[in-house]
């Protein structure tokens, strides 16, 4: 589309009618100072193409000239598709829209009002604004072709711009047939899918969705029908089971009833036998008791008679024995009295024995005291001797001054240190040994013995030491100097002197520094200490715990004891008693006394025992006699009671025989009953009860099964009325039919989706192939304006420049990194590249409103050349307040808007 002219009136600054145009098909520069209405003119043109004539509201009111109630009107003449059009729109007051097409030399209306709005909008692929005035979002392709005042950027792409561009490019890629086919394909695709590729839902959902929903419901019905059929079969089996259970239970109950009847008979017979056994056992017991009683009585009578006879005989024997036992007791008593007298005589001889023993004891004490006195005296003498020896040794020990063990150890150590220092010193000294062949004289000029002069016989060795050198003057030979490394001689010498000094200090108290003498002193002191210790030990042994005074007092006591004994036995002072004789005499007297007393005591005890035994026997015989007499009375009384019925023994024996026979008969009857009972292993009554319980249980099970059977039959009958299988058949068929339709629909939907996606994919590849040339064209344009430093322009998915690819940079650089002027050059290059693509079939109008204001003169000049070339395919309308900047463009059509407004037209 290219613009022919614009005519406005009642539009903001254009209160009066102003027409701009006719415009050239190449470059047009509309210029004027700020506020002359360049942008307003542009706005009026845009509204003519894109806004509905009925638009209202505050924003629309803004179209009127300030302070005037004029009706904004715009008429735009343009060419598109080889035809000439004119659109006139009147806004706000009696709004109208009219599209006319030139036929010959006049315009003929082809659309009015809304139709006109829509048709005009389609020339730009624009979108109708929802409400209010349009803005750049609704400009369609013009978003690329037209720029807002001072803003070349493409950064705010909204709406369907990118899609529109893609569609335009795609249409070119696919060609006219492809475009029409794509439209149809999209219609088909949109029947199934949303723009984002999801299957549509809701009211506009495709048939496949409805079928899926219907199938889901049908599946549920099918599931329910299957469950009912399963339930039917399950209930049928259950009913079959119940019938089997019931039949089985009935059979079991019948069999158990027969068993119960049989068991009942056996239990009755068993009970009768038990009663009979009890009765016969009682009979056995009673006959047995009767026989036993008769036998016992007869035995008792016989026993009483036998006991009476025996007791009478016993009583006579005891009566004869009693006088004999009385006499024997008297004799034994007399003998005991005699033995008692003998014993007392023997005990009276104890006084003599005691006297002999006392004399022997005194003699023993006397002898012991004498011995103790002698020993004590000897001990006291020893103590006195030890005291004297001890005093002498202690005196000698005080005279010996000797080092103790510790001092001696220190002395030994000091001596060792001295010897070691001496050895080290000797080793450190330079040693010179001379063995002259003949006698010679040696003077020591330097060395340990400096100044020494000695003569040595030939063949003998002479040694000299010194440090740091030894210098010898050998007579007749010369001077000999021996030197060595200076070293530690002085240190060792000092050590030797220190050791010597210490040794002197340690030995000074003992008067000698000789180690042997000191050790001899030490040994002597130790020897004396040992002797003193020995005597002390001996003294302690003699005294024990006593003091010497105590020992003397004890000796005096012993002497007093001896004097006391001698006072009683005066002869013992001169002739000590024969202790052995006296002791033997006392022992003999004692032994004799004891023997005589023991004999007397034995005799007395024997007599006493004899008397007691005789008296006891006498008492026993008397007692037994009395008991026998009493026993005879008791037996007689018992016999009288037993025979009170006056029956004879013979009669009693006959009665016993009869009773025994009756007992035997009763036992035989009882055993017969027992034999019959033994045929029963257990009580048939228990089995009867068990069988009765089993029968009752079986009957109960049968009743329950019957009840359940009836219940189940009812349930099954109810379920049968629902005809589950028929429901299942219908449900399966419904599902099958729906599945088949669903499969068909799904296949078609998938096929349409696949077709769309394949087509879109192919087209996207083709469009991508188109985008690359656009990038390339934009890059070339930018290089011409700004040089190569930006590298390539990278277009994003929406054909908007999103980065630069400088050759020096490894990655894309954001557009924002460029300067303001560079950015407008980048966007200009991009817009022109896109515009050329869009103008491949027809020239297109490009509007630059106050563009390139930030570009420097050099780049602006180069941009002008680019625009000149672009004008081969594009109509370019430049709105500017700096017309001088565009004066370099050849063939440009300059329009002075200010002059137009004042009525003059300047071209």
């Amino acid at each position: 589309m290219i613009l022919r002219s614009i005519l406005v009136r009642g539009w903001r600054c254009f209160a009066d009618e102003v027409q701009v145009g006719p415009l050239g098909e190449r470059i047009n520069v509309v210029y004027g100072p700020n506020g002359t209405g360049k942008s307003t003119l542009f706005q009026a043109m845009a509204r003519a193409f894109l806004d509905a004539h009925r638009v209202g509201g505050d924003e629309a009111e803004g179209m009127r000239p300030w302070g005037r109630m004029l009706t904004p009107t715009v008429t735009v003449a343009f060419a598109c598709g080889g035809r000439e059009y004119r659109v006139t729109k009147r806004f706000l007051d009696r709004p109208s829209s009219e599209l006319s097409q030139r036929e010959g030399d006049r315009f003929r209306r082809i659309a009015e009002d809304d139709a006109s709005d829509e048709q005009v909008r389609q020339f730009l692929n624009g979108n109708a604004p929802g409400k209010g005035l349009s803005d750049s979002r609704h400009w369609g392709l013009s978003q690329v072709l037209w720029t807002l005042q001072g803003d070349l950027s493409l950064g705010e792409l909204t709406g369907d711009l990118a899609n529109d561009i893609r569609a335009m490019l795609g249409a070119q890629v696919a060609g006219p047939l492809g475009s029409r086919l794509e439209q149809k394909l999209e219609v088909v695709y949109r029947q199934y899918f949303t723009p984002s590729g999801k299957v549509k839902s809701g009211q506009n959902a495709p048939e496949v969705v409805r079928l899926e929903a219907a199938k889901t419901k049908a599946d549920e019905r099918l599931k329910g029908a299957r469950q009912k059929v399963d339930m039917f079969e399950s209930m049928s089996r259950r009913l079959e089971d119940l019938r089997a259970i019931q039949g089985q239970s009935r059979q079991e109950a019948a069999a158990l009833s027969a068993a119960v009847a049989d068991a009942d008979k056996r239990a009755g017979a068993y009970t009768a036998l038990i009663a009979e056994r009890r009765h016969r056992s009682e009979r056995v017991k009673s006959t047995e008791a009767e026989a036993q009683a008769l036998k016992q009585r007869l035995d008792d009578i016989r026993s009483c008679n036998r006991e009476l006879t025996e007791a009478g005989e016993n009583r006579e024997a005891l009566a004869a024995e009693v006088p004999l036992r009385a006499k024997a007791a008297q004799e034994a008593s007399n003998a005991a009295l005699g033995a008692k007298a003998e014993l007392e005589n023997a005990r009276a001889k104890r006084v003599d024995v005691d006297a002999a023993c006392a004399t022997a004891e005194d003699a023993r004490i006397y002898a012991d005291t004498q011995a103790n006195l002698a020993a004590g005296q000897e001990r006291l003498n020893g103590v006195r001797q030890a005291d004297a020896d001890l005093a002498e040794l202690r005196s000698e020990r005080a005279r010996v001054l000797a080092p103790d063990v510790a001092a001696l150890r220190e002395i030994r150590k000091a001596d060792a240190d001295l010897r070691e220092a001496d050895i080290r010193l000797d080793a450190a000294l330079i040693s010179v040994e001379i063995v002259p062949e003949r006698d010679c004289s040696v003077s020591v000029l330097a060395g340990e013995a400096t100044g020494l002069r000695r003569s040595f016989p030939g063949g003998s060795a002479a040694a000299f030491k010194g440090s740091p050198e030894v210098v010898l003057d050998l007579e007749g030979f010369g001077r000999l100097r021996a030197s060595g490394p200076a070293g530690s001689v002085e240190k060792y010498r000092q050590q030797k002197e220190d050791a010597l000094s210490r040794l002197k200090t340690l030995t000074q108290p003992f008067g000698t520094s000789e180690l042997d003498a000191l050790e001899a002193l030490h040994r002597r002191a130790e020897q004396l200490d040992a002797q003193i210790q020995t005597i002390c030990t001996r003294l302690e042994t003699l005294l024990l715990a006593d003091a010497p005074d105590t020992l003397e007092q004890r000796l005096a006591g012993l002497r007093a004891t001896l004097s006391g004994i001698e006072e009683e036995y005066a002869s013992w002072h001169d002739a000590p008693p024969a202790l052995d004789v006296l002791q033997e005499r006392a022992e003999r007297a004692t032994a004799s006394f004891r023997a005589s007393v023991a004999v007397a005591e034995d005799a007395w005890e024997t007599a006493q025992s004899t008397r007691t035994a005789a008296e006891t026997k006498h008492g026993e015989v008397g007692g037994r006699l009395r008991e026998v007499e009493k026993q005879i009375q008791t037996i007689a009384e018992r016999l009288r009671k037993l025979t009170a019925d006056d029956k004879s023994v013979t009669e009693r024996e006959a009665e016993l025989r009869v009773a025994l026979l009756a007992w035997e008969a009763a036992k035989a009857e009882r055993d017969e009953t027992e034999r019959q009972l033994s045929a029963y292993p257990a009580d048939p009554g228990d089995e009867l009860k068990r069988l009765q319980r089993q029968r009752d249980a079986a009957e109960g099970a049968a009743s329950r099964a019957l009840g359940e059977e009836k219940l189940e039959e009812g349930r099954l009958a109810n379920l049968t009325l629902e005809a589950p299988h028929s429901l299942l058949a219908a449900a399966e068929e419904e599902v099958a039919a729906l599945s088949e339709r669903l499969d068909r629909e799904t296949l078609r939907m998938k096929a349409v989706g696949l077709l769309w996606n394949t087509y879109s994919s192919s087209k996207a590849q083709a469009v991508a192939a188109v985008t690359a040339p656009v990038e390339s064209a934009a890059t070339r344009t930018l290089e011409r304006i700004a040089g190569r430093r930006f590298g390539g322009i990278h277009l994003g998915g929406g054909f908007v420049p999103d980065g630069l690819r400088p050759e020096m940079a490894k990655s894309t650089v954001a557009i924002a990194e460029a300067s303001c002027g560079e950015r407008e050059q980048i966007f200009l290059a991009t817009r022109l590249a896109l515009a050329e693509v869009l103008a491949s079939n027809e020239r297109q109008l490009v509007i630059l409103d106050d563009a390139l204001t930030a570009s420097d003169t050099g780049r602006l000049t180069r941009a002008m050349r680019v625009l000149e070339e672009a004008a081969d395919k594009l109509q370019i309308l430049i709105l500017t307040c700096h017309p001088e900047r565009y004066r370099g463009i050849q063939e440009a059509n300059f329009i002075d808007l200010e002059a137009l407004m004042s009525g003059a037209v300047v071209s």
Partner: protein, 374 residues
């Protein structure tokens, strides 16, 4: 002696394989039952034997039970029925329906015990459960008597290939049990089993109404004539089915064959009682896409039931229409879809881009391209 042997009526049968036509299929089975009775009457049959599976299931609508009882009552002569494995004699079965007691000439044979009737001894083998490996005829005593002995059993004769053999019946069961004829049910195709002398003493009558596509020798009943005890039975097949089950499996290889197919489908008689299954194989030429749609429409409009299963794939050499597309996106799209439509295509396929989807997509593209070209 003359009687009609039928079996496997399977009244109330599910027919999910024919979708919405299932109801009609079920109705036709009732009508076919009426035709059996009608023919038996016309042929002066002395009785009818139904060798099991009279009903599809014991849980069918009881109205159907009553309907069958009514149809059989219309025969006026004895009808001997044994329960089969589809309608076994179990609690809640169709055989508990009171209709059976109200028709004195209908004998539901519930016990494996002989039933004598005017010189005939019926030896039934009723079925009590759906599945069993037991020979139902084993109870029949091999006693030759001075009467015609007719066995009535339901099961699989030995030698018939089946995944699971239910109720096996010896191949020589009739001879073994001294039967003049053993009427069999269970298999839907009419099959005869001659004895050593070539006399057809055992036979499946087949179902009286075909029940699915590909079911051969069905939709008939047998008229059995036995002149005297021991004589060879004379079997006469007579049709009873009302529906036609047609299956067409053309393998297309050249343009025009689809049109021929359409013509042959159009020529099929009695389309309203015909169930048609068309399994298309081979190649589809772009020029015949419309023919394919026409066949679809024809079948849907005219036949009781129709199904077209297409395994067609675009004819490899049929690329003229693609070459007629503008060079670029459209042609690329068509070529890409043709690759996907080839089952042997080994390249990477997008999601839902199988041969079937791709073939259909090509058809859609062809239609659109045709529309656009006008």
């Amino acid at each position: 002696m003359k009687f009609v042997h039928s079996a496997d009526w399977q009244i109330g049968m599910k027919a999910a394989h024919v979708g919405d036509a299932g109801r009609r299929v079920r109705e036709e089975r009732l009508k076919a039952a009426a035709r059996v009775v009608e023919q038996a009457r016309a042929l002066a049959a002395e009785f009818i034997v139904l060798a099991g599976d009279t009903f599809e299931h014991n849980a069918i609508d009881r109205v159907l039970v009553q309907s069958i009882a009514d149809i059989l009552t219309g025969f006026h002569n004895p009808v001997f029925i044994i329960p089969g494995n589809h309608d076994p004699l179990v609690p809640g079965s169709v055989w508990e329906h009171p209709a059976w007691k109200s028709s004195p000439q209908i004998y539901v044979l519930r016990e494996p015990a002989p039933v004598s009737l005017d010189g005939v001894e019926i030896l039934p083998c009723p079925i009590y459960e759906s599945r069993s490996r037991r020979d139902p005829s084993s109870w029949i005593p091999p006693e030759r008597r001075d009467c015609v002995r007719i066995g009535l059993a339901h099961g699989t004769v030995e030698g018939i290939l089946a995944d699971e053999v239910e109720y096996p019946i010896p191949r020589d069961a009739a001879t073994r049990h001294a039967l003049d004829y053993l009427a069999l049910g269970h298999w839907h195709s009419e099959t005869r089993f001659p004895d050593a002398d070539g006399a057809p003493r055992m036979a499946y009558s087949g179902t009286h109404e075909t029940s699915k596509f590909g079911e051969r020798n069905s939709g008939n009943a047998l008229l059995v004539e036995i002149p005297r005890p021991g004589a060879a039975p004379i079997l006469t097949l007579f049709p009873t089915g009302g529906l036609r089950w047609e299956t067409l499996t053309p393998e297309l290889s050249a343009p025009g064959e689809l049109t021929q197919l359409r013509a042959s489908i159009e020529a099929l008689p009695n389309a309203g009682a015909t169930l048609l299954e068309v399994r298309l194989g081979g190649l589809l030429f772009a020029s015949e896409h419309a023919e394919l749609a026409r066949i679809d429409e024809l079948i849907a409009a005219r036949f009781l039931f129709g199904r077209v299963e297409s395994a067609l794939r675009p004819a490899p050499g049929d690329t003229q229409w693609v070459e007629n597309l503008p060079d670029g996106v459209l042609r690329d799209t068509a070529l890409q879809l043709m690759q996907y439509a080839d089952p042997s295509f080994a390249g990477q396929r997008p999601e839902a881009a199988g041969p079937a989807e791709a073939s259909q997509a090509l058809i859609e593209l062809y239609k659109l391209a045709t529309e656009v070209r006008g």
